[in-house]
Symmetry: D2
Subunit: 468 residues, 4 copies
């Protein structure tokens, strides 16, 4: 028993950690073996009588995982010692039943299917959490569709936006990734093929037992039942085609990457100098006894940490996948397991954190407004000159093409002297060209958010159905 | 100026390298700027008269790319100096036209859209090459659906397969990845949003010019024309939502990973000790003057190399994406560019190589058979004992449960003594239990390929339509 | 609670897994806290009386790691809940002693130092195993310094080498990496600095208590004792300078990468078609009941798997390190922990596997010779023409510059016709130019290994002292 | 001619880009071939007369790199077509000289050595720039050794530090990495070994020509001259031992990672809300015509971008290195080239940027002080209670162990009410316990920087000699 999560603040103590634990994976392997027995019973290739003994033996709590781990290196997988023990347990109750266990299967059938099962189980909660998150972000975006703040380009003050608009972009990324992840979940396949993927054992069996039928049709029909038992998709063998693994891994990574963007923005906004957002409070979380003013944004830190871990896990998985060989790889396949599990675990933790963070994120519109004002009217210079330059030229104040220069020089001068910009422009431009009031309106950043609110509404309407 | 591909055997001299070159990217940026002008003309926000000057100026051959590169670091992007030059060129022909260039846009609109355009252009050829490859692999699988060879598990001899079956697994992975890539291509979006993604400039413009309309409806309608001009999808702004980039990158990587599996298998099979396959010959390729017996499998080496490069590029892209912030990231965005281009380039090269390699792969069935026989009848022991043990037990030769042991001990002994296995079994087992002929049939590896041929047919039927 | 290693055949059941377990890491954190108390006692800033209570409480077996893990996310590290519990345990025995625990320290001081302690403890065994490995490889290289086999370039037959020469290259890489790793171990630093690295608490303390001294001299002197207690190096604070972490990680990775090369070569050589090497046998390892002829090279598979995992861990670590910020990073630091632990664990497992694999690697010189002969005399063509061309020209058999062509055409013809090459050359070349015997000598591949044996001796002499 | 750097703001237009260009690499390959000829002349194995023809032909400006690139894929390396052309050029001038070119060498000898030569040439400037940077940082640290600012833990306000202290940590990381990189540069080896690394050609040659000597001693002696000609280290063959490559790559990455930390800190500090630092101004850099208030921190953005790119390049390199096989790898080796070049290029650009950024970084001490004050006296609570609690207990104001609680409650109350904290404490604590003045002194953050200035001095003294 090695790891509890002490070095993994991302997932220590989360539901995802349990759902992807070695215990959960080993139980999934037993579930797969049991499902295969049930499929045989249903298909008439095994007697009903074996059912009870198999089900009873397929409970991971009666196995010693430390011992299984110790035997894992010998065959470079954990199924081999688990299966030996499973056969013993079944045989102890029902000697003949043992022969039906794992019949015609290979380690890879069980391990790959078990990983898909773990994905399906963890994935279900991930999708739920992501839908909750998207719902919460939708409400937040809606609420702040008009809350003005500074938009940042290259992380520098650029133009005003609304906070709701920024939230809508978090939402769109998370929802896009979430939907793709959900789609991937609905396609998770069982693995079934025997030693080299061609179902030799069962083809021989059916040729002998049911010579009147095409043996592969029977193999496929029996596999369909197996898949049905597990709630997975009945698919052609993929021992040597790892696309199902890469697609799942990529879909998971996209969720984590979308969450990281949100976290990065929160981490900037909670800095004391910004103070635009605060993470939800929870007693005992994020404080520091030595530094009582601290409220560490631990949820966002964990999300950021998660994305960094996931990047490494995906690299490991890719490095494995690209060294795939023959009918079963010599190392490449093995590298997928921990990496895929790690990705699912991190993604699950991310979904849990997102759901908590977006439920209680505190927003400080006054601070947003204060920060927006740091550059004062400089922020509006582009807008003002875009608006006034043509008017100035149209009134022949200056010749064509010189309007922008005139307007900008008046503005720069006024701002530098600390004069009221609207008034100065009103004074300096010909009477009747524009009113001071009109200029003041154009200088109001809350009117300079373009389509921010429209985008909020559009994004919300796009994902409203999915999120509920 | 810098790179010709001398350190990049994967893509040096390929069509993909040209389609993703800096020249191609810069031309794509000009194409995007030109398309925006055309969209304005069509939408009635710019006069038709600007068209000619813009089109003429949007030809990259009249720009000095070395100079543009030298100016690139100042704004951390190449669009800024390119745009300055473009405006100069347009103004030289038609002074007023210059004002319509890039109107209401931001660098990110152009760069992101240009990258999507490069993806669309490169992608079209990639899909064509992948379809050709899948077609060729389908024919190869069909032709060798019954060509027996050894299947390998953990890269060790396991059970017989047909070469066609192995090819079917290459095919399935490449076709799955290719179809997903093709789908991604059909969704490539334009980027449009201005400084912070809210189209402030155009909202102001339409409020002033067409106050009777919802300005964002006009913005969207004009964007639709822009997308149409470029053959891309009109989508909501994604400045701060990088899912379109990760999805494209992942789809590309999956193609490369699927190809790597094929390459790894070819690299094993062309070794002199295996000699089961040879790469297509081309004068001047893969030979060595110092070592005349060499025929280096350079196509497969390049595919393997490609997958390793792509793993690094994807890591760089991920590292960038997860540090995305605010309305435009401060470095994370910049890291996507070269990584995405690199992925497209490598994927394009991979598709070209695949198409050539699978067109001319030489297959040596006799060598496959010779290698299969290395372990002789040992390979069939499992099958024989699975078949005979129940018969032996049914005939009360041994008690229940001991059949396998008896059969195996007879076999091991016979093989060790070099005796004919079928004959020995016939002699040692009770008369009438099985005929020597029946045993000989069971010892024929070509009858022990399970559903190999069925799988070949099934996979071929799944992708036949797509590949043609 | 979560992971036993079932998905990690690389390290499940290894000593390294235990030495890097959460238990070991948590014990190391307690060891660091205890060492700090001992340092205070030695330095006179804490009374001796606290010693016993602290030592007693610093035994990880009396802590509930599942509970600690559950509390880890709240502060995004495990030290916070561990410390609270430690203080309780100490206070229960000796109320005043609790105040001396963690005095002036910050979480990062303890966690970073604990990781270095884990590195030192695991590292000691790694170095021992690597020295054993290098010693064993040295003997193997020596034994096979003249055992001829085919050398491979781009994995294709190139020229003869000796197996000992190939071993010498494994040895050199492993020894180079091992020595660098050992050097890194001797420089592992303690971390000491308090909240922001400037030792504010202790500076205040010493200013008040020992105003006559430079407080930082006292801080440093006390830190020296702390380092001495732990067997680590007393170093300037490195909270915000992660070079000690990257150097350690890189040194570990190099060991793993060097091992992967060896594993890749073994995996090729154990294939049935090559059969030049076999992994040491161990009952129960690497066999397959379904496929009795199999002896899976699980040690090499685990080494290959290890390198792929390590590549991912290093990527995660790098992704963390490059997002380092301020006096303590918001996520980047957290990503280092599991990655560094993972690298140490994998490196430890690799060293154990290497030591076992190189102790019992079986070598089959006859198979090496058989494989070498696949291309027959083609392999020697270059040598023969290099040798004879000048002689032929010198004897005016052909004009200058045509010698190579003549020799090669004679050779190609002879080989193609299946004639004896030496005899044919002897017949076709002018009498007295060279003897058939001399040609036969030149055609002997065992005389065509260049400096192979010299390189073996040179490499062995370079590392002999280190390995013993 | 594909890439000018338009997608690579990190290195476009830098000196490093030129030093690592394909032109520079190809010239390095020619330099290696030329050096080998000179070594032969010096060693007496080639006539002096060949020198001129070789030198003349070894000028890359007379080669067509586009053509070489087009031929690169055929042999999967660029040396093959380059060498053919080189031989032609030499032969055109001096027919016999052509035979001495590349004598006994293999592609890998030239390519590996050329990459080391590129590293040496680029590296020299990198070290110079890093020394300049360290010198500049030393001066900056010194100047601001007492400039108080807030220190951040988990990027949140923690305790005061001096800006000089933060700079000292940048300095230490960059100097550590720089020194290690410099050391690596002094060990860059030539590669020399022929087809499979055993110098067969030259061993045969020397056996024939100088039978009285040990041929490998002559091979080594001649190699020493070759190394001397190139300014590299004469080393044992490392075709199959890639540790020299990983060590160089790791050393380069460490420089980039150290720089990224500095960049991340600058990016936070230049935000308008912080405004503690500004990047040096340069006309035309970092501005935005649409947003005149912007001064984009492009140097830091490029440094951050660099680290992300380098992470990907290192992953590619690692993925290649761990798939190393036999005497020359089938793809793994090829993946090293572009990755290593990329790392050197990025590292060179980073060094240039660092040197410019640290020369002109603007520091705003008033803003630092303003930000520090955001949390006001909350920041000092820990310090005050650490100081007063024992005094309060010693004066029996409260019982032992309750001092901290009393002091903290007085403080919290005072701060909450907006009262003067020193005065309130003076009032509420017994007369004579402490003076208000003493409390005020303890509340001065500039006196609460622990050993900041000492650390600055210590770090500066550690690297002063190296940096100049």
């Amino acid at each position: 028993m090695y790891d509890y999560g002490l070095l993994n603040p991302v997932w220590a103590g989360t539901r995802a950690a349990e759902q992807t634990s070695d215990v959960a994976f080993a139980q999934a392997m037993l579930d797969v073996e049991a499902a295969w027995c049930r499929a045989q019973i249903r298909f008439g290739t095994a007697p009903e009588s074996i059912g009870q003994a198999v089900e009873t033996a397929c409970d991971i709590t009666s196995y010693d995982l430390t011992e299984l781990a110790a035997k894992t290196p010998d065959g470079a997988n954990a199924l081999i010692p688990l299966l030996a023990e499973l056969r013993n347990k079944v045989a102890a109750q029902h000697p003949e039943a043992a022969g039906y266990i794992h019949r015609g299967a290979t380690s890879q059938d069980i391990i790959d299917t078990a990983l898909m099962l773990v994905a399906a189980r963890t994935g279900e909660h991930i999708v739920t959490d992501l839908k909750t998150t998207v719902g919460q972000l939708g409400a937040l975006a809606d609420q702040h569709a008009e809350t003005v703040m500074i938009g940042r380009s290259l992380d520098q003050h650029a133009q005003p936006i609304s906070f709701g608009y920024r939230v809508s972009q978090w939402l769109e990324a998370i929802a896009t990734a979430g939907q793709q992840f959900e789609t991937t979940l609905t396609n998770l396949p069982v693995q079934w093929g025997g030693a080299v993927g061609t179902s030799t054992w069962w083809v021989d069996y059916f040729k002998a037992e049911q010579p009147e039928h095409d043996p592969m049709q029977l193999v496929t029909a029996q596999r369909d039942m197996f898949a049905e038992e597990l709630g997975l998709v009945s698919a052609s063998v993929w021992h040597a085609n790892r696309m199902p693994v890469t697609q799942l891994a990529h879909a998971a990574f996209e969720v984590v990457a979308a969450a990281a963007k949100l976290a990065n923005d929160v981490l900037t906004a909670v800095q004391a100098e910004h103070a635009e957002l605060a993470e939800p409070n929870k007693p005992g979380r994020g404080g520091s006894s030595a530094m009582p003013h601290k409220n560490n944004p631990v949820l966002s830190i964990r999300l950021k940490n998660a994305a960094q871990e996931a990047t490494g896990q995906l690299t490991a998985l890719h490095t494995g996948v690209i060294s795939n060989t023959a009918e079963r790889a010599d190392g490449g396949w093995h590298s997928e397991w921990a990496a895929l599990r790690g990705l699912l675990r991190v993604t699950g933790a991310v979904a849990e954190i997102l759901s908590e963070l977006t439920a209680g994120l505190e927003v400080f519109p006054q601070a947003m407004r204060r920060n927006l004002d740091i550059h004062g009217n400089y922020l509006l210079l582009g807008r003002i000159s875009q608006w006034l330059a043509p008017l100035v030229e149209a009134h022949d104040v200056v010749e064509k093409g010189k309007g922008k220069q005139l307007v900008e020089s008046i503005c720069q001068e006024a701002i530098a002297s600390g004069d009221d910009l609207a008034q100065t422009l009103g004074d300096r431009l010909p009477d009747g060209l524009v009113s001071v009031k009109a200029i003041e309106k154009m200088l109001d950043p809350s009117g300079y958010m373009g389509g921010a609110a429209t985008i909020v509404a559009e994004v919300n309407s796009r994902y409203r159905k999915w999120s509920t």
